[in-house]
């Protein structure tokens, strides 16, 4: 199963390398720097959401290194 996941991962990675043929220049990053394009990973909201879902669902993690555990009810 891990092999399958790896295969998917490399597929998307190679896809992204293809996209890199037309690199985005430093002066073209106005949209990417805008508030609405920021990923919310690492924000207070995401740590709250992650904590709530972690304590109510079996699946967890997947977007970075997990933080500490808890004895959640």
């Amino acid at each position: 199963m891990l092999a399958t996941i790896m295969r998917y991962f490399w597929f998307f990675f190679c896809l992204s390398l293809l996209a890199a043929c037309q690199p985005v220049k430093p002066w073209q990053r106005g949209s990417l720097a805008s508030e609405q394009m920021q990923l919310y990973q690492g924000s207070l909201q995401s740590s709250l959401d992650d904590h709530v879902y972690f304590s109510k669902e079996a699946a967890s993690g997947g977007y970075g290194v997990a933080a500490g555990g808890c004895g959640c009810n």
């Binding site: 996209a19 690199p23 720097a33 609405q36 079996a58 997990a66």
Partner: protein, 366 residues
Amino acid sequence: MSKETSLSCLTSAALALPALAQAAPDMLEDAQVEYQFSYYDEADERMQARTHQVRASLQPSDKLNLNLDLTRDTLSGASPMFNMPVEGQTQQILSGASIHEKRDVVSFGASYKMAKNLLKVGLGRSVENDYKSNFYSLGLSRYLNQKNTQVDVGVGLSLDKHGIADQPLTDKKRSLSYHLGVTQLLSPQSFIQANLGYGQHRGVLSDPYKKVYIEGKGLDVDLRPESRYQSTLSLLYARQFKSNDSALHLGYRYYQDNWDIKAHTLSAKYHYPLAKGWMLIPEFRYYKQNSADFYQVYFNQDSIGSYHSSDYRLADFSAQTWGLSVNKRLSDKAKIELGWQSYRSRRDTPNPLAFDLLRLAIKLQF
């Protein structure tokens, strides 16, 4: 868009990801403080929780970012303990005595920026009267292709002790997690991110507060394997629309572990900027998992195995979250956000979990 100029000062704090989006070679030399209060309320008068979170970030130099997070959770209510058949119907039995609990978390993080790398370290401690956790993390981000690609690698370690409240905490749990991520800019308006995660948990993973009901025998303890291996694959896509500057974020996560649980998570978030510094953010999330191989609603003498649990979190279920947030920039230095989420699950056991989450957040920059 231009009105967000100073707002981006608030949002492009050094830890915001992906760093690719920040064309600026320099970090801000500012300090920033964030506060968030949230109120979590489960249906059927189960659990309620109030959470206060504070984060202070400081950039003592152009390369270094430090941040301190403090969290206090207070919980009260009742939690499901087990299920049993009553006159042909399954009934969920809640913990009799009302739970009152407090959780304090303090964590510290530092990141150091180099020409093509960002090094991150973190450590923290979480304390409850029945659970203590110390956690450490190390991460490295590397920029490639003139900052069109970002590769992240990370490792985390968590050392936990747990047990029954106000008694010596004798049960131990040790978790290791690894992360590999790639973010790729697709165009000046879009990027994609792929993440692989692997988690390894060893020790006492059973829940001392949960019980199982065995027909013809009565109650027994919750007993789970001593190890759990979790694998995840996630994909994120973000795109901004030129017509109105709004942005759409789409996410998918696949999860599986050696308890035979597989889960799918789909998420969508739309950021819609309005006039005068207002922003509207509707969101939707769909989650589905199947049950652990040792889970049953309740057991009988034949079906009970060496491992057994009736924890509703290990059951087969699906859930939907709808949410709406609105935020407003008050000045160059201040932003306020109000959010609401509603979670509804569907499963074949009684009283499927449903909750609402209200959130108020303030961000100040100095």
